[in-house]
């Protein structure tokens, strides 16, 4: 590990990249979205793949644990089913055998106008993320910013589970709430510094029941149109409704969460409130109106599965 942070420190910035499973990095390299001279291959550090209890009821997952290992890990399946389900919803078995949780969390933000070959992108020459242009093809009227989407399926469940991540550099380490890892801009999307490596995901002891839904047009290898992660704690307060893959950061429906905590109104009203308060953008994978309606419907389904119906229903 010390060797990795040392290497990262010594390389000129922008020449070295960290590689985990490589299932996204190598694709972006071929699409000429990224160029580098040195790869620091993190999967050769065995300790980073460990999954172990943290001694106080929680779990520590090494960033290089593969999505397949997480999806099939008996303890994760039993105690953190949302995370196991999200890991198993990513792409194909081949990809899950290589892709890691750390890579999924740091996955580059994605956009229909950006993640393509140079030939295809030539039609969109002013994209702010792909070139130094000053246009966003998603929101052409926007003056600044990039709306590429946070797309890792495991992000939503980890926010719902109140997870943290450990970031290590040659100068020390820090622990960040997973929500704070995402900055909300499609270009500058991660709070990870240029010399930092995400080494561990820290899960607190499980607090209640939950549900995870990945919605995509077909059950194929595709990225999500959105993900929904819901947690209902055993002792009432602290519900979480997290929607992933609809913005450059995972979104929490805080008003919906409060209504869920209070538990006085019906499932349908909570789902409607949660879907309405989200700030969405129209994308090729769905207009704002379409997404809002499907999120409302799917959230209703998810809640109905484990929330006792209230008298108004």
């Amino acid at each position: 590990m010390a060797e990795a942070t040392d290497l990262l420190k010594k390389q000129p910035p922008a020449e070295a990249v960290l590689m985990a499973g490589g299932t996204d990095l190598l694709v972006r390299e071929r699409q000429k979205l990224i160029a580098f001279r040195t790869i620091i291959y993190l999967r050769s550090i065995p300790v980073l793949s460990e999954i172990r209890p943290d001694g106080s009821g929680g779990l520590t997952i090494g960033a290089m644990a593969s999505l397949d290992e997480i999806a099939s890990h008996p303890h994760i399946r039993e105690k953190y089913p949302l995370l196991a389900q999200a890991a198993s919803a990513v792409a194909s078995p081949q990809i899950r055998h290589k892709a890691t949780i750390g890579g999924n969390l740091c996955l580059s933000s994605r956009c229909w106008f950006y993640n393509h070959s140079p030939f295809w992108r030539a039609e969109y020459p002013e994209c702010r993320k792909a070139s130094a242009g000053d246009k966003c093809y998603v929101l052409p009227k926007s003056r600044r910013g990039c709306f590429a989407l946070q797309s890792g399926d495991t992000v939503g469940p980890l926010v719902a589970l109140n997870a943290k991540v450990k970031l290590v550099s040659d100068e020390g380490e820090r622990i960040l709430k997973i929500e704070d890892l995402y900055l909300g801009d499609g270009i500058n999307y991660l709070a990870l510094g240029p010399r930092e490596i995400l080494t561990e995901v820290l899960l607190p002891s499980p607090s209640g029941t939950g549900a995870f839904i990945k919605f995509r047009p077909q059950n194929n290898l595709d990225y999500a149109s959105f993900t929904l992660s819901v947690i209902l704690p055993r002792d009432g307060a602290g519900s979480r409704i997290v929607v992933g893959s609809v913005a450059s950061q995972p979104l929490r429906a805080r008003k919906g969460e409060r209504l869920l905590d209070q538990g006085r109104i019906g499932i349908e009203a909570i789902a409607r409130q949660a879907a309405e308060e989200l700030k969405l953008v129209s994308f090729v994978r769905g207009s704002v109106e379409f997404k809002r309606r499907v999120i409302e419907a799917k959230l209703g389904e998810a809640l109905a599965a484990f929330v006792a119906p209230s008298p108004q229903d």
Partner: protein
């Protein structure tokens, strides 16, 4: 710059020098002339380059050759024993799951990996297991039939 690479391919030790940016697929096809493994999209979507690395199916186009250092690689060429087809290959032929044949090596290696992890997958699990390989001919049903045949023959021989 080249780096020495030692690995096992279909049970045989292999030693060669590779460029750092060479993929496992490049090494298998262009250096070792194991052209059974097919090159498709180069982006992990079609799965035609699927091989088994250390017991797990991977897209060899998204695997750098150096990632396989010291590893065990199994390709479609290593599946049959001489003229005797592997049970998956046999069932594949009998079920008519080969049409143009381009996806067959990747598909068969995916099924190999699936059955290694789950000896009796139900239809849903079979679909999930072969999801990583794209077939534009069969509509997948003949492939699923082939997997079911392997499972039922496995039961008979137990």
């Amino acid at each position: 710059m080249t780096t020495p690479l030692n690995l096992w391919v279909n049970g045989e030790p292999v030693q060669l020098f590779v460029r750092d940016d060479e993929t496992l697929l490049d090494v298998l096809r262009d250096r070792l002339m194991l052209t059974g493994t097919k090159r498709g999209c180069g982006e992990g979507q079609c799965g035609h380059c699927t091989v088994i690395l250390n017991g797990k199916s991977v897209n060899s186009c998204l695997t750098l050759a150096l990632e396989a250092k010291g590893g065990q690689v199994l390709t479609i060429e290593g599946l049959s024993e001489g003229d005797r087809l592997h049970p998956i290959q046999q069932a594949y032929a009998e079920a008519g799951a080969v049409q143009c044949g381009y996806c067959a090596p990747g598909m068969i290696m995916s099924i190999y990996s699936l059955l290694k992890e789950n000896r009796q997958p139900d239809e849903e699990a079979i679909k999930e297991g072969i999801k990583g390989v794209m077939c534009r001919c069969t509509g997948y049903y003949k492939v699923i039939d082939a997997v079911k045949q392997v499972i039922s023959e496995g039961k008979k021989s137990e």
